[in-house]
Symmetry: C2
Amino acid sequence: MKILHVLFALICCGTCWTQAIKTGPAATNARGAEYPRINSDNSVTFRVKADQAQKVQLLLNFQPVEMVKAADGIWELTTKPLTPGFYYYGVAVDGFSSTDPGSKTVIAANKETNVLEVPGPESEFFAAKDVPHGQVRMVWYKSNTTGEYRRIFVYTPPGYDDGKSRYPVLYLQHGHGEDEAGWSHQGHENFILDNLIAAGKAKPMIIVNEDGMTGAPLQIGPPPKPAPGSAPPARPRGLGDMKYEIFDSIVSKDLIPFIDANFRTLSDRVHRAIAGLSMGGGEAFRIGLNHPDKFAYIGAFSPALAVTGAKTGYDGALSDPAKVNKAYKLIWIGIGREDFLNKPVKQTHEELEKAGINHVWVETEGTHSWTVWRKYLADFAPLLFR
Amino acid sequence: MKILHVLFALICCGTCWTQAIKTGPAATNARGAEYPRINSDNSVTFRVKADQAQKVQLLLNFQPVEMVKAADGIWELTTKPLTPGFYYYGVAVDGFSSTDPGSKTVIAANKETNVLEVPGPESEFFAAKDVPHGQVRMVWYKSNTTGEYRRIFVYTPPGYDDGKSRYPVLYLQHGHGEDEAGWSHQGHENFILDNLIAAGKAKPMIIVNEDGMTGAPLQIGPPPKPAPGSAPPARPRGLGDMKYEIFDSIVSKDLIPFIDANFRTLSDRVHRAIAGLSMGGGEAFRIGLNHPDKFAYIGAFSPALAVTGAKTGYDGALSDPAKVNKAYKLIWIGIGREDFLNKPVKQTHEELEKAGINHVWVETEGTHSWTVWRKYLADFAPLLFR
């Protein structure tokens, strides 16, 4: 047995993942919380204390599953083995939809939402390894479009503070109901880039994350009381209400000039990319196509796009394919086979292909999930600024 | 009436706070959430949806208050008028203690905890104003003490990226159950310093926040199942279990050398300060006193200190007051009159005074709260590096 252990240690490199050491409390747990626990078969056991509750549900990826009452006011659930990757979840107790105090939260669906990471060998590419590390900076800047100070996240690559080098910039956007912290907290953009840069697979670059939820708060919790004598406030409720023009203005008129003035960037279009996931993929696609003077690379990860099929579709791209092909060094579109947006995104790919617009089309395993989007960043970033 | 409005507008400067514009959804709400709402008398109305619940409590500053069932499965509570400032809170539904999805959360009591900001004129000093802004950087570094990559928060002052200047450093610590994000998320250290620096009241400085919860996870949620055949894991449960030595080693052996190697610091002792609140105040006091070669300034905000009264008290400080008086340019101790630690902290002050150890002693209004600690930072920072 000891010989086997030694052999295993020799075969397995120092940083590689082994099932044995990844079971127990999830890495995404609150400090000291023993549950949720990852079991050796990748099933996950959740426990919640709710002494006087009649009904407790786990909301795994927003889908309710009944938990079962155990002793001492504890409710428990063990899932089936889960595919390694990223999961959103919450807990509902007697109609109260909230979060599990055992796990950390991030912003999703416009509110604090639990995160669960099920580790596996495929987690290696976004792990904190013994390589030079960049920083993720919270930066505040004044937007003339909105008249407010806005917080952005800016990844600066390893060595940024040391030298005088200038860097290309990737503008990278989150999905609907998330925020500017998404690509750092859920996406681990910093570790993905640190690892790619250390391996010589991606050029050192700056990444900028803004808050793309411009003009579309969704209803959270109880409806508001209107002020005496006044009608209830109008509340936009979905993607259809998104104010694309506001976000285009923020990015093209406020954000890019601020970044170029305050970071050591290469500020020509061939050193600027824009990408995003889901709603942010739609925003990146449109802003990219509307500003060929500013961007040479576009990435759309499981994008939420308005599919029109008309000559005016995709902000006019279909009407002049030659111009598009000349302007962009890369248009990259990726979608998972099990993603609910697979069909419309595939239709986009087919429309672009039919029109003769050059693009990279990638169909992968996976659903509409950060598990997929982190991989897409790791696949997309090495293609930039070559 | 119109004349009164005009007069008011003339008297009131552009950025000053007026009651009228601060009512409505709290600034700390989740995006689009209408509740909690600040009322014009500074009372706050909370609403929670819990259709099938029997009992719903608001946990305001961790103290339970019954909410009342209204129509449509909504539970409601309006507080008495609240003193402007910072509040932690949560919601308990049928014995399930969690958070209100209507508000953002931060880490407190070792888990995600709701925050509520009640604004007032006294909120101005930490507001995002039209002044030059610094950055708050998430930075990862390898600790030899723990063998792990640790995340720290680093405030760099306005202009840091522009020049070649070197800056003094304040190491600033959170309280028990919080983490390295506390001084940014709850404390708004960046806006406090931005405003002080813009007004010429504080020297531009770097601020570093580490995670001081070394070795003391508290029990969160249900107890763990021990592995088959093994005893339950030992779990330290309070301040008494804190591993001071671990955090001293992290700060003095790992963190300070990393910061001095990777940021443009002034690295002599007269340009280095350490401060903290509550548990972090105790850590700052002890690390400061144990390393007179490294620190010339110590700040203890409502500190949790072991009061011994013996000659060996305060890590030996009492045994050689002359040495202490020579070593430190400032020892600053502050406590609120309504703080539950008022008595022991006052005792510390009296012991130091009796021993002839020079220190600034500040007793203010307030409880054990970020409302107080933010003011203490604004009072303490201007005294540094003069």
